[in-house]
Amino acid sequence: MTEQKKKSISLSSKLKSSLDFLFPFLIIGIVWEILVQTGIIELRSLPAPSTLLAKFWELTFVNGILWKHLGSSLYRLATGYLLAVLIGTALGALLAQKPLLHDMFEPSLNLLMSVPTIAWIPIFLITLGLGDKTVIIAIFTSSFFAITYNTMRGIEMIDKSIVNAAHLMGLHGLNLFLEVLLPASMLSIINGLRLAIGYAWRALVGGELLAAMIEWGLGKMVYQARYFNDASVMLLGLLIIGITGFLLDKTFLTILERNTVEKWGMTAKK
């Protein structure tokens, strides 16, 4: 089979699977629309899909408010999460290589990792104020521990003889980390990154909802709509939160699969 044919086949199968994915949403949308149009359900707080679409059009193309909400959410997520990735992997690598530090901090790390995200938010609201800083630090904290822990575990599970061989060949410090430790522990690290993005997403939405000084953000969009009893903005906001969260997770899952199953030649044949 030529490369091009392969590509077109994988493209059409991708198209088919995304159509399969959208199908239930379409069906539910149609049924819901019919129920509302025929007056079988009549609720001001449950707008029809056509109303949602009109609202979506207005928020995206007429006044562009949606982009502003989405943009400030993604900006916060990126800042907090990237900080956590940088500091978390560095700290994880350090803990993995110094047995004394490992014994000192592994239990606390384990404990802190299982503290739910929602527990941090009131503390940060009190100590850091009601604005951006609180949300970004909450994102950082909720993803940091999972990243650190998984990096540490990943590096600790590397075969010691590989590390010794690298040492003999003269690799030390940052070079050793970048060329041996990082690639060899990639799987565990990506796993940690995927866990962390889920926590970070929850921290972001919860933080935006609860921090009173924040004006923009998907969490705020949903929360503010309450004051106007505007269920269509709320539903739209929730849908976008769900879809974005799902796509973030899916991205990391795809990277994970590329690094494991596909590399080992075990891709499931349909």
């Binding site: 739910p116 997403w201 949903v222 309450r226 929730l238």
Partner: protein, 263 residues
């Protein structure tokens, strides 16, 4: 071994001591960072206030636990039933899976404003969202578990004359139990977090989340820290004691080891 325990406790003790000292000497603002001893004092006070009959802390905690109990049970029941359906029937899997994947990515607290419009403040909203946030992880893991059952085992059981019910009770349930328990554990974590978070915004008059949020808005830091401490402690108790014990009695007896499964 003793050295390990010593090393593990050392940073925690140093951290708490440093906190205590800097709060007492006012190197940090003691209003925002009350000393650990002050937090413990507050915890005891909250517990003792109104004691013989109506300890404030216990009342708040019981209110939250009651909501969690109802929501969690409904969520687990619905999740397992739905998961078995989706696991056994392919069309229903293809229909519901995309919906569940997207809805699962919405944090429970974000749904609170919508449910407040629909159901009003207080118990109905809090319990419903507790149930929903338990439901998703349970249905997800149960589906994965049932779908992973080896077809050959099912056929083998059928050939040996097992009825449909017997196939379910002696092949499907033991096989997927590890997955289901993982889902229940995650569901408990999510449910507990969500109930407390929703109590923040869907204010009623009682609940641990209500207590924490009321104190947050009035900058009563000691109550906030004390409440969060209780919240984390109860979560550990629920997770380790309750779920851990049930798990030991069932899965290990069937010889299945819990597989680690991420959120």
């Amino acid at each position: 071994m003793r050295r390990k325990i010593f090393l593990a406790i050392l940073p925690i003790v140093i951290f708490l001591l440093a906190w205590e000292v800097s709060a007492r000497l006012e190197w940090v603002n003691p209003v925002l960072f009350p000393a650990p001893s002050a937090i413990l004092n507050e915890l005891v006070d909250l517990f003792q206030e109104g004691l013989p009959a109506h300890s404030i802390l216990i009342n708040h905690t019981l209110a939250t636990l009651k909501r969690l109990g109802i929501g969690f049970s409904v969520g687990v029941l619905a999740g397992v039933l739905m998961g078995v359906l989706m696991g056994l029937s392919n069309p229903s899997f293809h229909f519901f899976n995309p919906l569940i994947l997207v809805l699962m990515s919405i944090p429970g607290i974000a749904l609170a404003p919508l449910f407040i419009i629909w159901l009003g403040f207080g118990d109905p909203t809090i319990i419903t969202l507790g149930a929903l946030s338990t439901f998703f992880p349970v249905v997800y893991s149960t589906t994965t578990g049932v779908r992973s059952v080896d077809r050959q085992m099912v056929r083998a059981a059928q050939i040996m004359g097992a009825s449909r019910l017997q196939v379910i009770t002696s092949v499907y349930i033991p096989w997927s139990a590890a997955f289901v328990f993982n889902g229940i554990k995650l569901g408990l974590a999510r449910g507990w977090m969500t109930v407390i978070a929703v109590e923040f915004v869907a204010a009623s008059n009682y609940g641990l989340g209500y207590m924490i949020w009321y104190a947050t808005e009035r900058l009563k830091a000691d109550v906030v820290y004390a409440g969060i401490l209780v919240m984390i402690l109860i979560y550990f108790i629920l997770d380790k004691l309750l779920i851990g014990n049930v798990e030991k009695k069932t899965i290990s007896r069937w010889g299945m080891i819990t597989q680690k499964q991420e959120e």
